[in-house]
C-alpha cells in the first residue's frame, strides 16, 4: 500500500469515528452506562508557623505585612532591665508551632541579619530607605536587600547607619517595584564582626529604678564595638515534652549528656522550711533554669543563709530541688531567695557563649538545625520530619531563651553600666 492509500484508509476510519461521536452515538447501542467523576481539583497545602513568647499572643508567619510568609516583627523574647553582673538575668519561653497542613522537613534557628522594615513606601529613584528602628549596625558599602512578596531588590548603603536609625542612605537606584510599608529590609553583609551584628548596644535613656542614674548620665560606658552584646551570655534550651536539649549556650558544644544548658536559677521556696528535721528536697517555685546534680544551692533570707547540695538534676519548670539530707538552719520563709552558685561560677568566666558570637557563628550560614529531641541530650538527626503539620505528631516545640551577664573575677565591668543590647532570633521551617 502506498502512503497515499494508507492516508485514504485512515481518513475513512476518521470519518466513521467522527460520525459516531457527533451524530450517531445513540444509534448503535440499546443499552449504555456511564459514570462521571466531577469536580476534581488539586489544592496545595500550607506551610506556616506561629511563635508565642510566654503566654503572649501567637505571632503568625502567614499574616506578615511583607506577604512572603516571613514575619520579621514577632514579639521580643526578652525585655530585661537593671541587669547586674553575676546576678540571674532572665528567661522567656518560646513556643514554635507548625500551623500549616504540610510537615516541615527542616526546622532551623539562627541569628537574623541586621534588619528593619520599611516605615514608608518607596518607588521611583531611591536614595534613602525609610525604616523602622534599625536592629543592628549598617556599614558603608553593605548590601541592603528589600523583599516583599515575590519582589526583591538589592541596594548598596553609601553611609553607615547606627542601631536604632530610622533611615539608610543608599546609592541612587530606581526601585523595581513600589515597595510598600512593611517590606523587609536586611543587611546581607552583616553579622561578620562584633561591630556589625544584629545585636547592638545603646546607652539607656531610662533609669533602671526611679530617679537613679541612667546610661546617658555616664561617661565611662562607650557603645563602640557593642561591648554589652559581646559580654552578655545567651542560652537556648529545648524542653518539649520534658525532653531537654541545649541548642545554644554553655552545655551545647559539646552537648551535655543531660541536655541542660548551664542556666542559672533565682527562685523562692514554695513553702517555708522547718528547722524541725532534715530535708531531702527543697520545695521551690517553678525553676527558671537548671540545677545539676552536685551543684551548690544557696538559700538566703536577710542575714540567714545555708548551702545545700543538689542530689539530682532538676530542669526548667521543676518545683523541687533534690538535695542531700540536711536540716535547715533557719525557718526560711517563702520570701527567701534560692540560687545555684555553681551555675553562676561556671558561667562567670565564659567569653564564648555571647550574643555577639551567636550572631557571627549562628547566622543564616551557621544556622542551627533543630532535629527532633528523643531524650535528654539526644536528637534524631535522621528524622525526615522536624516539625509535624498542625495537629499531628510534634507540631509544637518549646524553647527557653535566657540571658546572663557574667561577673568574671578581677575584671572591672563599669564600662557595661547603663547599656542596652537589642537583638533578634529567627525561626525557619522548610517543606
Amino acid at each position: 500500500m502506498s502512503l497515499r492509500e494508507l492516508k485514504g484508509v485512515l481518513l475513512f476510519f476518521m470519518a466513521i469515528g467522527a460520525a459516531a461521536y457527533f451524530g450517531g452515538g445513540g444509534a448503535f447501542a440499546s443499552f449504555s452506562a456511564e459514570t462521571t467523576n466531577v469536580g476534581s481539583s488539586a489544592a496545595s497545602g500550607t506551610l506556616t508557623m506561629s511563635d508565642q513568647v510566654n503566654t503572649g499572643t501567637a505571632c503568625l508567619s502567614a499574616n506578615a505585612t511583607s506577604q512572603n510568609n516571613v514575619n520579621a516583627a514577632c514579639a521580643s523574647v526578652l525585655a530585661l532591665t537593671n541587669v547586674a553582673p553575676g546576678v540571674y538575668g532572665g528567661v522567656a519561653q518560646v513556643t514554635v508551632q507548625n500551623t500549616g497542613s504540610i510537615d516541615a522537613s527542616k526546622f532551623y534557628l539562627w541569628a537574623p541579619y541586621v534588619n528593619a522594615t520599611l516605615s514608608a513606601g518607596i518607588s521611583g529613584t531611591v536614595t534613602s530607605l525609610p525604616i523602622t528602628a534599625l536592629e543592628g549596625t549598617v556599614t558603608n558599602g553593605d548590601s541592603i536587600v528589600l523583599s516583599f512578596g515575590t519582589h526583591t531588590q538589592t541596594f548598596t548603603a553609601n553611609a553607615a547607619a547606627s542601631g536604632g536609625a530610622t533611615s539608610i542612605s543608599v546609592t541612587s537606584q530606581a526601585a523595581n517595584f513600589a515597595y510598600p510599608i512593611g517590606t523587609i529590609v536586611v543587611d546581607t553583609s552583616s553579622n561578620t564582626s562584633p561591630a556589625n551584628t544584629d545585636c547592638y548596644d545603646a546607652k539607656t535613656t531610662v533609669a533602671g529604678t526611679t530617679g537613679a542614674t541612667k546610661g546617658t548620665d555616664l561617661n565611662f560606658n562607650p557603645v563602640t564595638g557593642n561591648p554589652f552584646c559581646g559580654t552578655a551570655l545567651i542560652y537556648i534550651q529545648e524542653t518539649t515534652g520534658g525532653k531537654n536539649y541545649c541548642w545554644l549556650g554553655k552545655g551545647s558544644s559539646p552537648e551535655a549528656a543531660s541536655g541542660m544548658c548551664t542556666a542559672p536559677i533565682s527562685v523562692n521556696p514554695s513553702s517555708a522550711l522547718s528547722t524541725g528535721g532534715p530535708i531531702t528536697s527543697l520545695p521551690v517555685t517553678a525553676l527558671n533554669g537548671n540545677v545539676a546534680s552536685g551543684d551548690s544551692i544557696v538559700i538566703t533570707s536577710g542575714t540567714n543563709t545555708q548551702t545545700f547540695t543538689a542530689s539530682a538534676n532538676a530542669y526548667f519548670g521543676a518545683t523541687a530541688i533534690p538535695v542531700n539530707s540536711a536540716t535547715p538552719n533557719f525557718a526560711y520563709p517563702t520570701t527567701s531567695t534560692v540560687i545555684d552558685t555553681t551555675a553562676l561560677s561556671s558561667l562567670n568566666p565564659d567569653t564564648t557563649d555571647t550574643i555577639t558570637n551567636f550572631n557571627t557563628a549562628h547566622n543564616i550560614i551557621g544556622k542551627i538545625q533543630l532535629f527532633p529531641v528523643t531524650a535528654n541530650g539526644t536528637i534524631n538527626n535522621a528524622a525526615t520530619v522536624e516539625l509535624d503539620h498542625f495537629n499531628s505528631g510534634t507540631f509544637s516545640r518549646v524553647f527557653q531563651v535566657g540571658v546572663y551577664l557574667p561577673a568574671p573575677a578581677g575584671i572591672n565591668q563599669n564600662p557595661l553600666q547603663g547599656l542596652q543590647s537589642t537583638f533578634g532570633i529567627t525561626w525557619h521551617i522548610d517543606q
Partner: protein, 243 residues
Amino acid sequence: MFTRLYRHLHRTSGPSSSTWRLKQMLAALIVFGGLSSLTATGTFALLTSQMSNSRATVASGTFTFDNVVNTGTACFSYGGPSSPGNVNTGCQALITSSTLNYPGVAITPVKVTITNDGSLDAADLSVYMPSCAASATPGAPSPGGADPCATNGAQFYVQETTSTGTPTTCWFPSAVGACSFVASSLHVFAANYNATTSALDLGKGPVHATARYFLIGMQLPATASNALQGEAAVFGLTWHMST
C-alpha cells in the same frame, strides 16, 4: 502496507528526519530537568515559613553614688574622667587648713553623706586613706617639725549615724555606739587602711536610692608636743562601693 508504514515512520523519526535536531534539543532538556529534580532538591525548599522575634532587649543597671560633705554640693562618682571611669578624685575636702586644731580640742565633726544614686544595690561599702603626709600649716611662722600622721600625732575616728546624727556604729576605732578619740589613731588608720584591697569594711552598702551617714572626727591629743605646732596633716578619704 505495514512494511511501508514502518519504513515511513522510521524515516520520520530517524537521524535523517527533518525534526531530528529539535528532538535532540528536547531530549537534552528532559535529561537536564531530570537531573535537576534528582540532584538539586536539597539546595532549596519549595515552601518555607519564617519568623523572627525581633528587638529583645537586655539593659544593665547603673552603680553610682555621691558624697556630700556637711551641707555642700553632691560629688558624683561618675563626675570624674572617663577613664578609669566612675572614679571621682576631685570631691570636696573634709577639713581645710583654715580649721586650726588645738591640743585636746576636737574640731566639729565633719558629716559625710554617702548616697547610692544608681539603680543597683551595693553589696559592700568601704573607706580608706590613700596617704597621710605632714605639711607646714600655711602661714605658720615656724612649724614645729613633727608629723601629725605619725605615732602620737593626730587622733581620728569614723562614726556612723542615723540621718539625724545619732551615733549608731563606731567603725574606727572599733567601738559600740559613739566613738571616742584614741592615741595615734590617725597614724593607725593611715597605716592599715590605705588601699582598696585593705580598706576599712563598713558592711553592706546602701541599696539604691538610700544613704548612709558618717561623722569624721579629728583632734590633736591633749598631750601634743610643741613640735606639732604649725603642722598640718594632708590626707584624703576614699569611699568605695561594689556590687
